[in-house]
């Protein structure tokens, strides 16, 4: 990840005409968050499919498998975080980190990816083309979301940002970590997404939990 970030910094500081000091924290925290969210979605599609053997012979609570995906990705996240922390110390942006809002942002991201894992896990067990669709969507979303480009570069078609849930997911962690102000919509959007998402995922889970094992 350090190599990816260095390369992007080298390239994009020239393309966008911004300084390394401004751009590197942006792309570093952006990719940390994006990596976590995207791999949760991709692995989330495999939650129950990968657990076929266990689900078929024992009464293990199904949420265990959701937490398993989440925990595994949190470990990757913590691992990548070390590189970001090193960058923060070298470039000195650790001084401006807004710790309370960073934690709130992380909590909101977790609240959202967890329901997505559950929902994708169920739907993918039923429809086997979902994992491939998710994988290609993730690629598309990466380009449409300000992970390595700056939202300020967009003047027309602002809806690319306004209606992009991933923009808010990234903003929730990135802004407080690089000491920038949060988009005022981020917290309400993510909180309501978590609520609606969990209600949906839970409704689907209640309706299908008996069936999931037969999907496999």
């Amino acid at each position: 990840m350090a190599a990816l970030i260095s390369g992007l910094t080298l390239l994009n500081t020239q393309l966008f005409n911004v300084s390394v000091r401004d751009y590197l924290p942006w792309v570093a925290v952006g990719f940390l968050t994006w990596g976590f969210v995207s791999s949760c979605l991709i692995e989330g599609s495999d939650t129950f499919i990968a657990a076929t053997g266990m689900l078929r012979q024992a009464a293990i609570p199904m949420m265990v498998f959701v937490w398993r995906v989440l925990m595994r990705n949190l470990i990757y996240f913590a691992h990548n975080f070390v590189a970001i922390a090193a960058a923060a110390i070298l470039l000195g942006f650790w001084k401006t980190v807004n710790v309370p809002f960073t934690l709130i942002g992380l909590a909101l991201i977790l609240a959202n990816v967890s329901w997505a894992i559950l929902l994708l896990g169920i739907i993918s067990a039923r429809f086997r083309d979902i994992p491939q669709i998710v994988t290609s969507m993730v690629q598309f979303v990466l380009f449409m979301t300000p992970v390595f480009w700056l939202p300020g570069n967009i003047s027309r078609h602002r809806y690319i940002l306004d209606f992009n849930p991933f923009y808010y997911l990234l903003d929730a962690l990135r802004s407080p970590m690089i000491g920038a102000p949060l988009d005022h919509r981020t917290l309400p959007v993510l909180a309501s997404a978590a609520l609606i998402g969990w209600l949906t995922a839970f409704a689907v889970f209640t309706a299908t939990r008996r069936r999931i094992v037969h999907f496999l």
């Binding site: 053997g53 266990m54 689900l55 078929r56 012979q57 024992a58 009464a59 293990i60 739907i123 039923r126 429809f127 086997r128 083309d129 979902i130 669709i133 008996r210 069936r211 094992v213 037969h214 999907f215």
Partner: protein
């Protein structure tokens, strides 16, 4: 604590999806054209268990016989809690251990020791107990220094030994088994048989599905015959005709 299994009128149906029905794209396309696609193959509902009732109490050793596809494994999975019946009710008292698929949850890139821990965690063993049991499981597997190597480097026989050693370390009141398990080379088969026999003796209730009347006669005191998802009455094992 008492151990008992009480099942009344268990019926289990499950959907079997045709190849086309596994694709969201095709599913949506079908809705758009109003089900006109000729190649469409819909979902078939299979009734795997029909009105199965049984009562077991401590000391019961139930053998299940029946031809392939008669519902033996489905019944075991239902008793294990993996399948939830559509109708009827099922009460299971006591800790259940299912030895249906020994390789359940093993991770090919983890080492032998890690896999033993993983398998024990999966059956709900507290980690302190795992650490106590670990040396004994490791010794029984007879894999020695190989236990520090990843599972994928094992031969099929070695993997089976590990899976057997780990999954038979359980302490359970109710043991569910699909066919008598035989693994390993001649020498290991002997000790495996011994270990499984002692596990069966310790357990309060055994449910064993098998095609072999001899196995059933050796380990069971009761027997039911399954046919097309229906279970016959529970009979004493001596009424089992060859």
């Amino acid at each position: 604590m008492t151990s008992a299994i009480s099942a009344h009128g268990l019926t289990l149906r499950f959907p079997v999806y045709g190849v086309d029905n596994r694709s969201l794209k095709k599913y949506l396309a079908r809705i758009r054209v109003g089900g006109q696609l000729a190649s469409w193959r819909g979902t078939t509902m299979v009734t795997a268990l029909r009105n199965v009732s049984l009562e077991l109490k401590a000391g019961d050793r139930l053998g299940i016989i029946g031809s392939n596809g008669s519902g033996k494994t489905t019944l075991l999975r239902t008793l294990a809690g993996a399948y939830i019946p559509d109708e009827g009710n099922l009460t299971v008292q006591g800790r259940v251990a299912s030895l249906l698929d020994l390789s359940m949850g093993l991770d090919p890139s983890a080492t032998g020791l890690e896999n033993i821990r993983l398998r024990c965690l999966m059956v709900g063993m507290p980690s302190q107990m795992i650490e106590e049991k670990l040396p004994q499981i490791a010794e029984f597997s007879g894999l020695g220094a190989f236990l520090a190597m990843p599972l994928k480097t094992y031969s099929a026989g070695m993997q089976a030994r590990l899976a057997f050693a780990a999954s038979t370390a359980v302490e359970a009141d109710i043991l569910l088994m699909d066919e008598w398990i035989a693994v390993g080379d001649a020498e290991f088969q002997g000790s495996a048989h011994e270990r499984l026999t002692s596990l069966v003796e310790k357990t309060r209730i055994l449910v064993l599905a098998s095609h072999s009347p001899d196995i059933i006669r050796t380990f069971c005191n009761k027997v039911i015959r399954m046919d097309g998802g229906r279970a016959g009455p529970i009979m004493p094992v001596d009424q089992l005709d060859a």
